[in-house]
């Protein structure tokens, strides 16, 4: 009985130490327990034709809208590995292995295969937390198609772009790209997969299709603060 108490006490002390000082081992253990869906996922630099296609469409749309005449806001991106993911159903966040020591600041863009997948919300010395586009709290101004219709990208399990002009001539496959302060202009978010009239009949809403699987992402690129 006494031996058991000692064993339990030691186990508790070891676990407290691991939680406070060695959390990365918990993340590694979890990555073994979590299946990677893999499809259309993987590394930030590995080729994905659908994502490349969306990135090119976004570039064309941004250039046709006069973005080429603006001063370039492009900075340096650094690769970061995905450590862990939010484990419950209330948010969609990922933790990556680059932090303030690597020049990452809050609000900067996270990119996967040329697509904007989220924004840095918390920075630790060697890690950063990214709120992904699938988080219900993710909202940024966006533009749609080569005519650059203004809209509001709203994240969630099924992200949409709302508040688009009712008479906007949208087609399935039109690119949706970011037009938000603090993020590089013209980064593609996805493409239009369906359109509908908003509940109040004043705007058009667009459902968004993505060329990647969020659960399969293993590395991302993060914009370094200037």
């Amino acid at each position: 009985m006494r031996l058991r108490r000692w064993a339990i006490g030691t186990l508790i002390a070891l676990l407290v130490f691991a939680i406070l000082f060695l959390p990365c081992y918990g993340w590694k253990l979890r990555s073994w327990l979590s299946p990677q869906s893999g499809a259309a996922g993987g590394d930030a630099d590995s080729p994905n034709l659908a994502a490349e296609n969306d990135a090119l469409k976004a570039q064309i749309a941004a250039y046709e809208n006069g973005a080429s005449r603006l001063p370039s806001s492009g900075g340096h991106y650094i690769p970061a590995m995905v450590y862990s993911r939010y484990p419950l159903n209330f948010k969609n966040e990922i933790l990556v292995d680059a932090g303030s020591a690597n020049g990452i600041a809050t609000g900067t863009a996270a990119v996967f295969q040329g697509m904007l997948i989220g924004r840095v919300t918390k920075v630790f010395p060697h890690e950063a937390l990214i709120q992904t586009v699938f988080d219900s709290g993710f909202e940024i101004p966006a533009r749609v198609g080569t005519s650059s219709y203004d809209g509001l990208f709203e994240g969630g399990s099924y992200p949409t772009v709302g508040s688009i002009a009712k008479n906007a001539a949208l087609r399935d496959g039109d690119v949706i790209y970011a037009a938000a302060p603090g993020l590089p202009y013209g980064l593609p978010l996805g493409t239009v997969s369906a359109t509908s009239t908003s509940g109040d009949s004043l705007f058009t809403d667009a459902a968004v299709a993505f060329p990647y699987d969020m659960n399969g992402i293993q590395t991302v690129l993060i914009a370094q603060s200037p």
Partner: protein, 144 residues
């Protein structure tokens, strides 16, 4: 000792199930259900070991969060319930799982709970089934 190992196996199964379902976009709080069930079977120190092991693996960031606090606090509250509840332990376990999930949803995302009550219902039913199986297995082991 065998019961403790069996509980560890149930906790490992809860991890695998929760992360496996999550990879398909279905989120069920098997880990919380397992921890609440353990609170009705084990003493406080054993429960503490399970809670700390769960936090070590579930915590997704090197900082404090309400979610992790609740994953630790709700099983401890359930342990208090187990000591003072006057009705059958299996019923108290099910009621505690229901209350635990309700508190988690209301504390972290009350809007989501109202907007998507079917998600809560799926989560609740799955957790009650998992919790009942774990409780039955661990209680049977105890009575032998």
């Amino acid at each position: 000792m065998m019961r403790f190992i069996l509980a560890l196996l149930f906790l490992a199964l809860a991890f695998v199930l929760q992360f496996w379902f999550a990879s398909f976009g279905v989120f069920i709080n098997f880990i919380l259900a397992a921890l609440i069930t353990f609170a009705f079977v084990f003493d406080i120190w054993d429960v503490l070991v399970f809670i700390l092991a769960a936090i070590f693996i579930v915590n997704w960031q090197p900082a404090f969060s309400v979610e992790i606090f609740l994953v630790a606090a709700l099983p401890l509250a359930a342990h208090l319930v187990s000591r003072y509840a006057s009705f059958e332990p299996w019923a108290a376990d099910s009621v505690s799982i229901f209350c635990g999930l309700l508190v988690l949803y209301l504390a972290v995302a009350p809007g989501l709970f109202i907007a998507d009550w079917r998600m809560f219902l799926t989560d609740l039913v799955s957790c009650l089934i998992f919790g009942s199986i774990a409780f039955a297995a661990l209680s049977r082991r105890e009575s032998r």
